[in-house]
Structure formats: C-alpha cells, structure tokens
Symmetry: C2
Subunit: 266 residues, 2 copies
C-alpha cells in the first residue's frame, strides 16, 4: 500500500495491440464467431477477477484485417490498482493462445477516448506481386499474379489526395453520415515482389482503404488509365470505382494522439 | 510438337521453394505427419498423371523450420515435356492448400544435384526481443523477453567463424561423419524489436544454427561472457554449449550453386 511505484490506477487504460486478423471475425463482437474485442474484454474481465470490462477502439477492423498498432481503451473498476507492465502482462497471459497481444498499457484520464481522441489513422496494404501464391505470408498479403505498374498506381493515387466526397470508395453498408474525408497520404512503393500502399487520414470510411487499393490494382494492371481514379472519385457512386481488395493485405499500423499517452510509457 | 518454345524436358528439374514450416513435420517424409517432401512429391506425381516422382533437397529442414529459398530436384519420367512456368504453376496448383510454393522451376542435367552441387547454404534466425509475445509472427520468431545485448552477441559470434570442429554445436543425433565445418558468416543485427542472426557455410551440422543461436542467447542475456563461445567451441562437447533455440525463428534463405541453374530462368 505504501509502495510509491504502484499507480492507484484511474479506471481507464489505453492499450496498444498487435493481432493477426485471420483467426477473427474482426474487431467487433459478433455472434458469428470470435472477435478481437471479445478476446481483449474477456482477458480484462478475468484480470479483475470477474468484473465486466468494456472497451472502445480507434478503428473497428474487419474480418481478416490485421493490426500492428491498434489502440483501444478499457474501463477497469474503480480502485483497480496495477502497474502498466502488470496490466500488459496480465492481459497477455489471459489472451493466450489467441494471436492478439498488448504491446503497452498506460493509464489515461476518464475523458480520453481511443476513438474520439484519435488524430490520425495509418494503414498499410501489402500486395505480393509474383506468379506464385504466398507460401510464408498466406492470409497476410493480397496475391496478384499480373505484374503491376507501380508508377501508374502512384500517378492514380495522387488523384485521391486531399478533401473529397469519397462515396465511390465507401462500402454500401457504411454508416458514416458524411462521406467527406481528407486523405493525407496514399503512397505506393515496391520492394522486390512486395508492393506496399501506405495511407494516412484523420478517419476513413468503411472499406475505404480496400476500395482505393482495389481501384489502384486496376490502374496497375493497365485496365484503367491513372486519370480514371479522378473520374471514379468525381462520380460519387460506388459503382464507378473498382472492386474491394481482400482483407488479407490490410494492416492498421498506427493511431496518432496529441498528446500521445504512450509517450509516458515507463 | 513443332512449338520451338516447348522444352522437351530432361527428366530432372530444379525447383526453388518457399514454405511455412509450422504445418509440417519438417522436410523429410515421416510416418508421424505431413512433410514438405510429401506435399512436393505428391504434387509432382499428380502432375505426371500418376508416375511416382522422387525428390532430393539441399537441406532437410526440421519440424517448424521455414524456407524462403529451399532448393530441391525432381526426377520426372523421360519425355515429360512441360515449360518451366507450367512445371511451377502445375506443382503450385497441386500443392494447394498447403503453405508450400514453387517460386521457380528450371531443367537441369541429370548429374546435377540439389544436395551435392550446392556450394553454400544461408540461414536466417529471427528473435523477437520485447516483453510481449508475438501477435502477428507467432511460430515465425523466437520470442525472448529479456533485453539482449546484441553487441555482446556479435563479439561472441566472431569466435565461431572459420574452420572448426563444431561437435559442441551439433545435435547428439547428428549423422555426419565429420564434425568439422567452415563457418563463413555469423552476423547479428537488430532493427527495433527484431534481432536477426544470418549465417552462411558450405554445409551445417544437424541443429548447428539453432545451437549456435541458443548459445548466443546466453551471451545476449549476460549469463555468458562473449569469450565463453570460444570455450564452448574448444570443448568439442555438446554439453559445453547452450540449449537448442526453437525452430520457429529459423529460415533457410538461400542455397548457392555455381553455375546457378535459376539464372537461366525465363
């Protein structure tokens, strides 16, 4: 009780998570199968000895989508006092054997929100561009046999930068009221057989990254001129853009907060 | 018949393979479970329409060990005429859904051997050095919680370079007649949380890489002074070296041939 290192924890903790999306129905709880949210909340509940713990996330990733740096917050019961490494290790212990881990845990004020305090989300999309399917990275890349022209993809991507109505690139089931988003980055790079598409924005519409990549793929194959990206965007109609790229290649790789609570990590 | 592009194939083909070792009992056929060899040979047999095809490999990887560039040769029945991409794609089709793929296939002379013509093998060992276990790379890295001193590991590794009796680092079950090997490279590098150990030699003893890494781990934790690597080597006694590192982090990443048959790839 007199140990000055013990943080008499605020109820709310932020956690940064890594997971392999293949085994889950996505972030959000579903009756159809196991979700990352369920694994995390069940572990937190076990850590408290049985008091129900709820979570809120920065980005509700879909079935099969991965994360290297997802962020969520958890509300522990008042007076629940553990040190950051005990929260991290305790959650990791109870999340075994699922491929989800807490990379770090920090206490945050009760008005801090993993979702609403987030300033920017970053995603990576990986394409394996070679004749042979993935041996080592099955389920973790989109395998595209046809050689893709990354210069053309880069030119096409530039048309989407900035503030636009992204209706053409949102899922028909998307529930956002406003289809306008500001795309900060949409970079296409190649290293050998792997093409990486990196994108940053304050927020994205449902399936926006996968729909942008699905259209860039058409540009890469030569079926679309790069300028068609601008036409698809201007149409404000989902049917004007390309198909949705598979979840396998998508990774949530960062969420930015200002100030960043994880900077205070021990 | 008159198509000049069809190679009226020699019987022997070299293939370069990528695989995820987690699902297999290792390269070699075992009655205890599925091997990479069985998946490859069964696919080749199906490709011929039922004629048994045998293979020889450059390196018989153990259970759980991965490969990004394993090499094997296959003896198809005389007169079996397919183009290189047809061999590659045909094998890949028949190896579904297993996480094994042929990256390329080339015809080789009947006296060429994936095993005996090999000039040098290259392995990579990956250590995930952080408090949290692997979320995305479970089964594909060795997770070590304790912070490892890579400078000390590098100093320790240098003691093993050159031509030595590696009895201290060979599995007790190793069947090689001669325990002398020449280690060309044993490099330790760190990028963030990932430590990579890269090694090259004409050939390795059974478990040699994993036993060298198991000892370097002791150096990295500080339990061993780097000079103890030299003492362990000089002892010529398996009990003098560290434990065997797990297979999860080990990758066969290259086999060198001179001339390299894959240089003739179309």
């Amino acid at each position: 009780m007199s140990d000055p290192h013990v943080q008499h924890a605020p109820c709310r903790w932020a956690v940064r998570l890594e997971y392999d999306g293949r085994d889950f129905v996505g972030w959000q709880r579903q009756i159809t199968g196991l979700s990352v949210q369920q694994v995390l909340e069940d572990a937190a509940t076990r850590l408290t000895g049985g008091v129900r713990v709820d979570s809120v996330t920065a980005g509700r990733t879909d079935t099969g989508v991965h994360a290297t740096a997802q962020v969520a917050h958890l509300d522990f019961p008042a007076g629940f006092a553990l040190r950051p490494h005990q929260i991290r290790d305790g959650l990791n212990f109870h999340m075994k054997p699922y491929p989800v881990v807490v990379l770090s845990a920090v206490p945050v004020p009760s008005d801090w929100s993993a979702r609403f305090s987030a300033g920017r989300r970053s995603y990576l999309y990986r394409i394996l561009n070679r004749p042979s399917r993935a041996g080592l990275d099955a389920g973790r890349v989109w395998h595209v046999k046809h050689p893709l022209d990354t210069d053309a993809m880069r030119t096409g991507a530039a048309h989407l930068l900035g503030r636009h109505d992204f209706s053409s690139f949102r899922a028909t089931a998307c529930q956002a009221k406003n289809p306008v988003r500001t795309l900060d980055t949409l970079e296409v790079t190649r290293t050998g057989e792997v093409i990486e598409v990196r994108t940053h924005a304050r927020s994205f519409l449902h399936h926006q990254v996968r729909n942008m990549v699905g259209s860039l793929h058409l540009v890469g194959t030569g079926r679309w001129h790069p300028d068609r990206m601008a036409e698809a965007l201007a149409a404000c109609d989902r049917r004007a853009a390309g198909p949705t790229a598979p979840p396998d290649g998508l990774y949530l790789v960062g969420v930015r907060y200002d100030p960043d609570p994880f900077d205070r990590e021990p």
